[in-house]
């Protein structure tokens, strides 16, 4: 069967154009109706609980514990207070930084994985996902051992005479960024790799035969063809970074204040669930706005690339 449909070496221009313009193929294999189960599931188990949560918070003014912020007051507080706006901006900027670093570091790794790893493919995939299989508590411990004042890195640097006084790695936002990139970069690498794998190598080869340098080939053929993978990685890492608090909590030493961190406090200490709910809705909406903006940019580039 597969042999019967062996693709032409170079896809037809017409089909590509149709796709880029969003017109879709003539005979789409999958009808749009297939999206229904997912949408229904999300409506029942995502939207409904959140609506239920808001409804409960409205009906329970002063319910849980003394006098929590009323639901409306919570939004007023969040949107009117420069402090919370600053935290929101910090959250988004922090996530963007983590995502950008993951992209720059992850692309070459994805490229290596698909093109050069050969029989070490599984091993590399394993190494990539290993951090995610390690308890966060232990991961944090690993960083501490490496980066503490009397830790490995400082000892080595001091033994080598590079520094005299131990560097204080563990306070400041650097270690929080590193800790988050460490666990999120696998998403970037695997997302890019899955789209790199789909590229027809012959396209790159023909470009080179026609005299394009390897750099030129990469930037004009390979990179544009993996934009969808980059998009996937970007979105996943950005959204994950936006919602994560455990790494920041354990590694950041509190040097960065983000909304998820404040939300966590509402659950563990102050029990102001209304404020927590409001914060998380504000976070969700701003993340979605960022996402739409990013997709726009990505799409425009994508069209230009082709």
């Amino acid at each position: 069967m597969k042999a019967d449909v062996e693709p032409p070496a170079c896809p037809k221009r017409g089909a590509r154009l149709r796709r880029v313009l969003g017109l879709g193929p003539a005979g789409a294999a999958v009808p749009l109706i297939w999206v229904l189960p997912a949408v229904a599931f999300m409506a029942i188990f995502f939207v409904a609980p959140l609506v239920d949560n808001v409804a409960r918070s409205l009906s329970l003014a002063g319910g849980f514990s003394g006098a929590p912020t009323s639901a409306l007051a919570a939004y007023a507080k969040l949107l009117g207070d420069p402090y919370y706006l600053e935290v929101l901006v910090t959250t988004l900027v922090f996530s963007l930084v983590v995502t950008a670093i993951s992209l720059v570091a992850g692309y070459p790794v994805a490229y290596f994985l698909v093109r050069k790893s050969g029989r070490y493919y599984s091993l590399i995939v394993f190494l990539l996902v290993a951090p995610l299989l390690t308890s966060i508590i232990m991961r944090t411990f690993g960083w501490r051992v490496l980066l503490a004042r009397r830790g490995f890195v400082n000892s080595i640097l001091m033994d080598l005479g590079i520094i005299d006084v131990p560097i204080n790695f563990l306070s400041g936002p650097g270690v929080a960024v590193a800790g988050l990139v460490h666990v999120l970069v696998p998403f970037m690498v695997l997302a890019i790799a899955s789209s790199l794998q789909g590229i027809d190598r012959q396209l790159e080869e023909s470009a080179q035969i026609l005299g394009a340098s390897r750099m030129r080939t990469f930037f004009h053929i390979t990179l544009p063809l993996t934009l969808d993978g980059i998009g996937t990685g970007f979105i996943l890492v950005f959204m994950l970074a936006n919602g994560s608090f455990v790494t920041l909590l354990l590694l950041g030493g509190g040097s960065i204040q983000t909304l998820p961190l404040l939300i966590y406090q509402q659950f563990t200490i102050t029990r102001d669930f209304n404020l927590a709910g409001a914060m998380s809705n504000v976070l969700l909406i701003s993340a979605l706005i960022c996402l739409v903006l990013q997709l726009r940019i990505l799409k425009r580039r994508g069209v230009k690339g082709k």
Partner: protein, 271 residues
Amino acid sequence: MTRLLDLLRNPADLLLPAFVFLFFVFIIAPIAIVVWMAFSAQAYIGFPIPAYSLKWFYRIVEYEPFLNSLIVSIELAIASTIVAATIGVPAALALARSRAGFADGLATFLLSPISMPQIVLGFALLFYLSALGFGVSFTALLLGHTLCGIPYIVRTVLGVYRSQPADFEEAAAILGANRWQVFRYVTLPLVRPGIFAGGLFALLISMDNLPISFFFGSPDTNTLPVVLLSYTENQFDPSIAAVSTVQMLLALLALVVVDRVYGVKHMGAPS
């Protein structure tokens, strides 16, 4: 040998492997410390390690909650990934090439669960599902984890499917394949890398999930991250490192088996 000569002729070729090497030093260094710690003979977590022992691995077997919750976690990860894929893959395929104006909006909507701090989602789900009559149960856990898995599968499959031209399917249709045959023999193989990557993400995210599992634990359905967190509340011994090590070993084993049976590379590449 010829490869080596190639490298010498073109030193720029060394840049990529060198970068990848440094990247993996960064990835592995903290994890290596954890694995090393698992073999410590000391009764608390700390460096340097005075002597080595396997006793913490024995402790995993001996301390019932570790093993029980590990089993629950694995069952849950597999079950939720399967459900999420069953729901998510068709949705991604339908959305990827839809010309409907709302398709992009819908795709973004399906991603939204991951941008929300899961503690909020877990809390809301607990009250909601409790009102429906199954608050603290394996079913509730399964629903929560499935919800978190769907975005990964949708997004990766969507990304991969979009980067494939429609020509293959058109050609198959022209050659006389019916809709089902096109789907089974052309579309599915095309998006296999996406399903593999997305499924892997969903599995890992489920195994690592604390904020949702946390709200749904019962004596019989507690997951490993919840048990580990609670364990450290009063104790800080290398058994936590040993559990992480075993988890990694299991993952390695799974990858090797998948590789032997299907070939991971093969799973990852459309053939």
